[in-house]
């Protein structure tokens, strides 16, 4: 691996991340919608908990889950579906003939998407906290940052893997992304503690990094709720998430190479409007 190769690929990552970073300020109205739309759902769910006289931390659980939806939607619509859309508008072949690693393109998409989404998720969370007057504990700030970072790397690793798998799909891509919205919100316990699903269902849902990441963050922000509503100890969840990081990043590299080969063999790599 030469220095030139490394620099070229770092430039590719920066280049692919750039439109997402710069795009986040080019369309201020998108920023408005991206922040307020999750807030509407969050508000509705928060009011249900209020109506049922639920413990106050549940409103906090909902706000954290609502912020996390931004990342999942970014994974589905701006990571998983992206290479398919690039194919539709004719960019994919340009990526493939460029003298760079394909992983740089995916990494650039992930870095840009993460930056763009983090701003929106943070805004949703801050407004939600102010609106509903909830109190979070910051007793372990280092752990909160670590859990968040590891969750995001594994989540975007999953998104990178999906991006290549979606290349196999035609119009199914849109429907698959639609299908992976509410069922994943349910399985990941975005609006209630995932422990409520039962151990084995929650364990199965843990393949989605958001499940354990969110559960760990809830336990860190509400330390007293961990024993009652937490699924696994935070350290265990962090260890599993670290494993998921490695697994998804490896799978994304493998699946991208496989799909590219398959696409070239079948001649579908640049085929539009399937």
């Amino acid at each position: 691996m030469s220095d030139t190769w490394l620099i070229t690929n770092l430039r590719a990552i920066r280049g692919r991340a750039y439109p997402r970073v710069i795009g986040s300020k080019r369309e201020p109205s998108w920023l408005f919608f991206d922040i307020t739309l999750p807030l509407l759902t969050v508000s509705a769910y928060a009011y249900i908990y209020k109506y049922m006289d639920a413990p106050p931390e549940f409103v906090g659980f909902v706000i954290l889950g609502g912020a996390m939806t931004a990342f999942w939607l970014n994974i589905l619509w701006a990571m998983a579906s992206q290479l398919y859309w690039e194919k539709e508008i004719g960019n994919l072949q340009l990526y493939l003939i460029a003298p760079i690693s394909r992983m740089s393109i995916l990494a650039g998409m992930a870095v840009g998407g993460l930056f763009m989404t983090a701003i929106r998720a943070a805004a949703t969370m801050i407004i939600g906290i102010l609106l509903f007057g909830i109190a979070l504990s910051f007793a372990q700030p280092g752990m909160i940052i670590l859990v968040f970072m590891v969750t995001m790397v594994s989540l975007y690793g999953m998104g990178m893997m999906f991006a290549s798998l979606y290349l196999l799909l035609g119009r199914e891509a849109y429907h698959l992304s639609n299908l992976l919205t509410e069922p994943v919100y349910l399985a990941s316990g975005l609006y209630f503690p995932v422990r409520a699903l039962g151990f084995w269902a929650a364990a199965g849902a843990s393949i989605i990094p958001m499940t354990l990441g969110l559960d760990a963050l809830r336990q860190l922000f509400y330390p007293s709720s961990g024993s009652e509503y937490g699924f696994l100890p935070v350290n265990t969840e962090l260890a599993i998430l670290a494993v998921l990081c490695v697994v998804f990043l490896w799978l994304s590299k493998y699946s991208l190479a496989y799909m590219e080969k398959l696409g070239k063999t079948t001649g579908r790599l640049t085929l539009r409007w399937q």
Partner: protein, 287 residues
């Protein structure tokens, strides 16, 4: 003659809509897809409820919440469906200009395409309600349904949604990048402020004032009163609309349909004219 021409437009648009919605996969996968999504959406609420009540679902509030959430699918899908026709035809398939210059009424075409969305959503609503009644004890007794309230409420409410969708479709003509956001935003406002999953009485007073202006508030109330009269009697006073008789609720809903018919027609006509003038009928933005 003109009516049969319009009916043919409607039928062909609905057929086209069906092909676009369903022919990407085999019927079994499509049926699963159509059912899993709404049921999962309802189960989120079910688990939220269960985790607080410790497993108790035989309560009036649970049925209230479940029924409202099931019927809200119509709000989201119809509003989104009408708007998506314009966005999809223009941006993705690039066929809007051909449809536009065809000798048909454009809004009949849009309603035909949306009709298939309503049909598919109806299946989702029915499956969700059946799931709730059979497995979760949601209080719906077919023998006790007040059909004289339920059927008119369902039809007038759907018509109101279609009419509102037309206005949003007009907005989509003029903006490719914001149409979906506006659409989802309006559907979201209805979700929070219209007593879909919780009574509006839990909202702050200023928010309740807005709730009373929204047609979906009356629609949800009328649907629940028609479908489960005993449930609504037991919740009387808690929903914020107990001062309204069934007739008053239906009349309010009908009046809002008429009001939105004028407003939406004006918005659509303005958007249509502006889109033609600015050359936006065949506009593509790769968005």
């Amino acid at each position: 003659m003109a009516v049969s021409h319009d009916l043919r437009t409607f039928k062909n648009a609905a057929w086209l809509g069906w092909q676009m919605e369903a022919n990407w996969t085999d019927p079994f996968v499509f049926a699963t897809y159509s059912i899993v999504k709404p049921v999962a959406g309802s189960l989120i609420l079910v688990f939220m409820y269960l985790v607080i009540t410790g497993g108790e679902t035989q309560t009036p509030f649970f049925s209230y919440m479940f029924i409202g959430n099931a019927f809200y699918m119509f709000v989201a899908e119809v509003l989104f469906g009408v708007t998506w026709v314009i966005h999809d035809d223009r941006e993705h398939y690039m066929t809007l200009k051909q449809v536009y210059i065809a000798p048909i009424k454009f809004y009949i075409y849009v309603f035909g395409r949306a009709a298939i969305k309503i049909a598919i959503t109806t299946v989702g609503v029915l499956v969700t309600l059946a799931f709730g009644v059979i497995w979760l004890g949601v209080e719906i007794d077919l023998g006790a349904v007040d059909w004289m309230v339920f059927i008119p409420a369902l039809l007038v409410g759907l018509l109101t949604m279609l009419i509102m969708g037309l206005a949003l479709g007009g907005v989509t003509f003029l903006t490719a990048k914001h149409g979906m956001g506006i659409n989802e935003g309006i559907a979201g406002v209805f979700y929070v402020l219209s007593g879909v999953i919780f009574p509006i009485t839990v909202l702050p007073e200023w928010a309740q004032s807005i709730s009373y202006l929204l047609p979906v508030t009356y629609w949800m109330e009328a649907l629940r009163r028609g479908l489960s009269p005993d449930l609504m009697t037991s919740l009387s006073g808690a929903t914020g609309l107990s001062d309204f008789s069934n007739l008053e609720i239906l009349l309010t809903l009908a009046l809002s349909a008429v009001a939105f018919l004028f407003i939406s027609s004006a918005i659509f006509r303005y958007a249509d004219k502006t889109a033609r003038r600015k050359g936006k009928i065949d506009w593509t933005t790769s968005y």
